[in-house]
């Protein structure tokens, strides 16, 4: 079938403003948007720039705005979309070129919540045991692939680029709820600030955007509850 694409293009060396260009390619209804984009790049215009890596919804590098929603281009099928398929880069970041955005600020916030196991005790002989119930508490948030679909769908983040954002909170939640971790207090200090979880207005865009179906707002709610109950 014929697939009509409307792609936002921007070359910082020649363009003052981003603009849209139309492309038409042949693809199967069961192909993904990424396939269509790679057809454009391979057959029509080699200068089209986008990030992709595994192309199977795991690496999280091809998050983009497709028909007004943040999606992974490698996960969404063409038959599920209205044509022309409008493809834009994620909102709220500086565009480097075409669909590639500068994610340094995103990863700075990710690093700011200390997304690694913090343990002050010496490592045991074997593993650190954990019951299935303890593991269950953070199971949902282990699924995050850092694609930034949630953070760039968040109106609080659009209006305040300093907001730590849902993705970083999800990552913090994963370790705060982990019974083997001892850095929970540090992370709660970081998230309890005004640019932390309190910026969240429970808009739920993050939940809708997450390609891994993480219940992001629930995780943020759990962090809020932790912050509240450690003060009382």
């Amino acid at each position: 079938m014929k697939v009509e694409l409307k792609i936002q293009r921007y070359n910082p060396e020649t363009d003052a403003q981003p603009h849209f260009e139309n492309y038409s390619v042949e693809a199967e209804p069961t192909d993904r948007v990424l396939d269509a984009l790679l057809q454009v790049k391979g057959l029509l215009d080699g200068s089209l720039t986008l990030r992709k890596s595994c192309a199977h919804g795991i690496c999280g590098s091809d998050g983009m705005r497709i028909n007004g929603r943040n999606l992974l281009a490698c996960k969404v099928l063409i038959r599920n979309l209205q044509q022309p398929i409008v493809v834009e880069p994620m909102k709220g970041f500086k565009i480097i070129k075409d669909l590639v955005v500068d994610m340094e600020a995103f990863f700075e916030k990710y690093r700011s919540v200390k997304p690694y196991l913090i343990q002050n005790e010496a490592a045991p002989q074997k593993e650190r045991p954990q019951s299935p119930q303890e593991r269950e508490r953070f199971d949902d948030t282990t699924k995050c692939i850092l694609c930034a679909c949630c953070t760039t769908a968040c109106p609080s983040f659009w209006s305040d680029p300093d907001y730590v954002g849902p993705a970083a909170i999800v990552q913090a939640h994963r370790f705060i709820q982990d019974s083997r971790d001892q850095g929970g207090e540090e992370r709660l200090d970081i998230l309890g600030d005004r640019e932390g979880v309190w910026r969240c207005r429970t808009i739920f865009n993050c939940v809708e955007a997450c390609p891994r179906d993480i219940d992001v707002t629930a995780a943020i709610g759990e962090v809020k509850r932790k912050l509240l109950f450690r003060k009382i």
Binding site: E108, S112, S159, D162, D189, G192, D193
Partner: protein, 129 residues
Amino acid sequence: MPEPTHYKSGRPIPYDNPFELFAWVFMRISGIVLLFMAIGHLVIMHLINSIDTINYQFVVQRWATPFWRIYDGIMLFLALLHGFNGLRTILDDYLRPGMWKKWCTFLLYAFSLILLVGGAWVIITFKPK
């Protein structure tokens, strides 16, 4: 060397600051309390008594007992601070950093403070003529 206060990108490094936590909890608790107090206020002022029977004498009678003074005082504080915090949040969300935001925030703080002090002054010092 002093501790850095900002990340490389210019984003402030967070520290343990419970203000927003208290503001968040306050909004929820004051909202629930106000729901009942405001309904009580509505029933007394508009359903049991008609507004055309409410006059100076009515207020004198009502405020002769400390209970109603305290009731009105609590309602004044909760309603004003609840509304103030809501507006503060909206300004914070919708205005970009800069002079315009500083001025609006200053006006909001000043206006709320004047209303709060004025209202409290009346409730505490009111004496019937």
